[in-house]
């Protein structure tokens, strides 16, 4: 069998879903953060597949943006998690419910 657009999209969808489910069910902020990255990469994969399929560079361009933004986001996000840990001594979301009150 040839590996075509569909297979790439399925893998991209699986990656996205795993990431989303991970965000829903996991309690650890770091894991949630990694799941978020996985969702981004799922989207990246889909973009590149479409780019290849259509023979245009538009998708690749967008992917570079996403990677750049994700890198910046990781830097900020991890810093927040570290700061949070220093303050609350925990990274578990069920204990980080200060929004409620």
């Amino acid at each position: 069998m040839t590996i075509g657009l569909n297979e790439f999209l399925v893998v991209s969808g699986i990656l996205f879903t795993i990431g989303f489910v991970g965000i829903l069910v996991r309690r650890n902020t770091l894991i949630i953060f990694m799941c978020l990255e996985m969702m981004l990469n799922g989207v990246n994969l889909a973009l590149i597949s479409f780019s290849r399929y259509n023979g245009s560079m538009d998708g690749n361009l967008l992917v570079f943006f996403i990677i750049t933004v994700a890198a910046a986001e990781v830097a900020v996000g991890l810093a927040i998690i570290v700061a949070l840990f220093r303050k609350r001594q925990t990274v578990y979301v069920q204990e980080l419910n200060a929004l409620k009150n």
Binding site: F20, I23, L24, V25, R27, I32, V93, Q94, L96, N97, A98, L99, K100, N101
Partner: protein
């Protein structure tokens, strides 16, 4: 100086005085009193300048404007309409006002809250000035309420006395009843004429008399019923005597209660003949009723209060009787309509002699250590000679003794009543008013004889001595005015529009008036001497016909009937209304709306868990729903 500036100063002076006393001088009683009197003197000086030296004028500024330029806008003005009529009322206000302030210096000397009293007096002067000068109905209404407020504050001066508190509340509430009709009347006028301004109203009413109606006049007259204490809203005035005596003289005899008469004179062109007919009967009956009830009162101030009611009845009757003078057409072009002019004439002379009588009673009460029962006085003629003389002048003036002030004004009212049958009116008011004049002489004679003659009936009266100069000098000035106040020429030509409309009797009717006047005033005193012999300690009527005396002392049970009505009917209706209000308005609508929002609040609050996973779930559901809508799963 600019006229507008003078008026602004004139308006602000008493208000600022009251404000300064209320803010800075509350504990400095003597200073507050002196400050108030000095301010009143300056105020009177300005007033006299306006009355005698400046031109009659109208001046107004826009105060509040609602609605844009395209639609019919609604403008409220703050303005002054100063004509001969308001000049006369202003003259009465400043003369009596200043004399009462000076008198109060003596009368209230030992009062622990003198500052409050004088601040109240200044507020009253301000409010009354507003009614006198106002050039539109809304402004009159505002100041009308303000005099009601100052009257409330001043009746309530001795607020540790439950009776004074009750009286002040009664005065305020009874006035509210009248003012409700008054407000409706003002709205009615605006609806018909589209303006509040008195000058424009007069022009429009003359142009299209079809716009006038009986309902409008009667509604406007409701305010007069309350403020001038006419039947059936007269019940507050006798109770208002709980206030300090200078207040009774100024507010509840000379000026505020006369504001209703003044107002009716001011809007006389809005009164149709049907309205004036009602007005005439109300005035006549009030005059008679109050004169009868005065016989059952032993409190010196209550007797004077009923005599005020009776004289106010005369003025109102004069306003009503003006319909007959109007139909013949004389006097209208010259200025004020005859009926209004005659009423204003009696208002002026009454202000002088009634303020005199009240201040005299204040002098007596002060000398007798706040004893007000005339059967605990007696024998004061020898102890208080000046008060005795001035009181005698007052009694003769109110009784209509020939050529004193009361004679002329009462004469012109009786003349109007006498003329009524010639113009298709009833002759009954004439006989009632004439009889009331006789009763006036008699009850004033009773008061006079019992208070001043015989021997002292209590220790307080035994130790009475003449009051100080601050109290006696106002009495002397008022006594002089009560004697000469009936000669209109002494006022100069400033009030011609009012005084030229008055027709005095001539020929045989004048002779009749002179005879009845002397008979009623002097004969009243002599007859009173025979009936209520000053040697006796009890009232002759009380000992001979106790049932009648009791009925009179209860004011013919008006208060009892009103109490019964309020408790048995009004309270029950209001209970039902209150229940309906609690159930529907408050329960269903006000609390119901709040409750509905509250339920939504509880639901959305339960979603707010603070759990990140929870939010992610909600987010996912939201995305699914949006997706479903985007794909057309739901049809809207």
């Amino acid at each position: 100086m600019d006229v507008a500036l003078i008026y602004k100063l004139f308006f602000l002076l008493p208000l600022v005085t009251a404000g300064i006393i209320a803010c800075f001088l509350r504990k400095k009683h003597t200073l507050a009193a002196v400050f108030s009197v000095v301010s009143a003197t300056v105020f009177s000086g300005l007033g006299l300048y306006l009355i005698f030296a400046s031109e009659r004028t109208a001046w107004s500024v826009s105060w509040l404007s609602l609605g844009g330029s395209e639609c019919r806008s609604f403008d409220l003005h703050f303005g002054v309409l100063f004509n001969d009529l308001s000049a006369l009322m202003l003259l009465v206000l400043i003369i009596v006002g200043l004399l009462v302030q000076v008198f109060s210096l003596g009368y209230m000397k030992d009062d622990p809250s003198k500052a409050r009293f004088f601040a109240g007096l200044s507020i009253f002067m301000f409010s009354m000035l507003g009614i006198v000068l106002a050039d539109n109905l809304v402004m009159i209404f505002i100041f009308w309420e303000l005099v009601g407020f100052s009257s409330y504050v001043l009746i309530n001066h001795y607020f540790d006395k439950p009776k004074a508190v009750a009286a002040s509340k009664k005065a305020f509430i009874v006035n509210r009843v009248g003012d409700f009709g008054f407000l409706l009347g003002i709205v009615f006028v605006y609806w018909q004429f589209g303006t509040f301004n008195l000058v424009e109203l007069e022009a429009k009413a003359a142009l299209s008399p079809g716009l006038l109606s009986t309902g409008m006049g009667l509604l406007l007259f409701c305010g007069v019923l309350g403020k001038s204490a006419q039947m059936p809203l007269h019940v507050w005035l006798p109770d208002a005597m709980e206030g300090p005596t200078p207040i009774s003289a100024l507010i509840h005899a000379a000026t505020m209660v006369a504001a209703g008469i003044y107002f009716t004179a001011r809007v006389y062109f809005l009164m149709t003949d049907e309205v004036l007919n009602v007005v005439m009967w109300i005035g006549t009956i009030t005059a008679l009723y109050a004169a009868i009830v005065a016989f059952g009162q032993n409190d010196i101030k209550k007797v004077l209060a009923f005599s005020t009611l009776s004289q106010l009845g005369y003025m109102v009757a004069a306003l009503g009787l003006g319909q007959y003078a109007r139909s013949t057409g004389h006097g209208v072009e010259a200025g004020l309509a005859t009926g209004a002019a005659v009423a204003m004439f009696h208002l002026t002379t009454h202000a002088f002699f009634k303020a005199l009588l009240f201040l005299n009673s204040g002098s007596i009460i002060h000398a007798c250590h706040h004893e007000q029962d005339i059967y605990k006085m007696g024998g004061l003629s020898g102890k208080m000679k000046l008060t005795f003389v001035t009181f005698t002048v007052g009694v003769l003036a109110i009784g209509g003794f020939p050529f004193l002030s009361g004679f002329f004004s009462k004469d012109s009212i009786l003349h109007l009543a006498h003329m009524a049958p010639q113009h298709g009116g009833s002759s009954v008011p004439y006989y009632i008013l004439l009889g009331t004049a006789g009763l006036t002489g008699l009850y004033m004679g009773r008061l006079y004889v019992v208070t001043f003659f015989g021997k002292a009936r209590s220790d307080n009266a035994d130790h009475a001595k003449e009051s100080g100069p601050a109290m006696v000098i106002p009495l002397l000035i008022l006594a002089v005015l009560s004697v000469i106040g009936g000669y209109t020429s002494i006022f100069g030509h400033g009030f011609d529009a009012v005084f030229h409309s008055i027709h005095v009797a001539e020929g045989s009717f004048k002779t009749l008036m002179i005879i009845t006047g002397s008979l009623f005033s002097v004969g009243g005193i002599l007859l009173a001497w025979i009936i209520w012999n000053p040697k006796k300690d009890t009232d002759a009527l009380e000992s001979s016909v106790p049932v009648l005396f009791k009925a009179l002392s209860k004011q013919l049970y008006f208060d009892a009937v009103y109490d019964w009505y309020v408790i048995k009917i009004q309270d029950r209706v209001s209970l039902i209304l209150s229940f309906l209000d609690q159930l529907f308005i408050s329960g269903l609508m006000v609390r119901g709306t709040a409750g509905l929002v509250g339920v939504f609040g509880i639901i959305s609050r339960s979603m707010h868990t603070g759990n990140l996973g929870g939010y992610a779930y909600w987010f996912a559901i939201g995305v699914l729903v949006l997706g479903a809508i985007a794909f057309g799963t739901f049809k809207f």
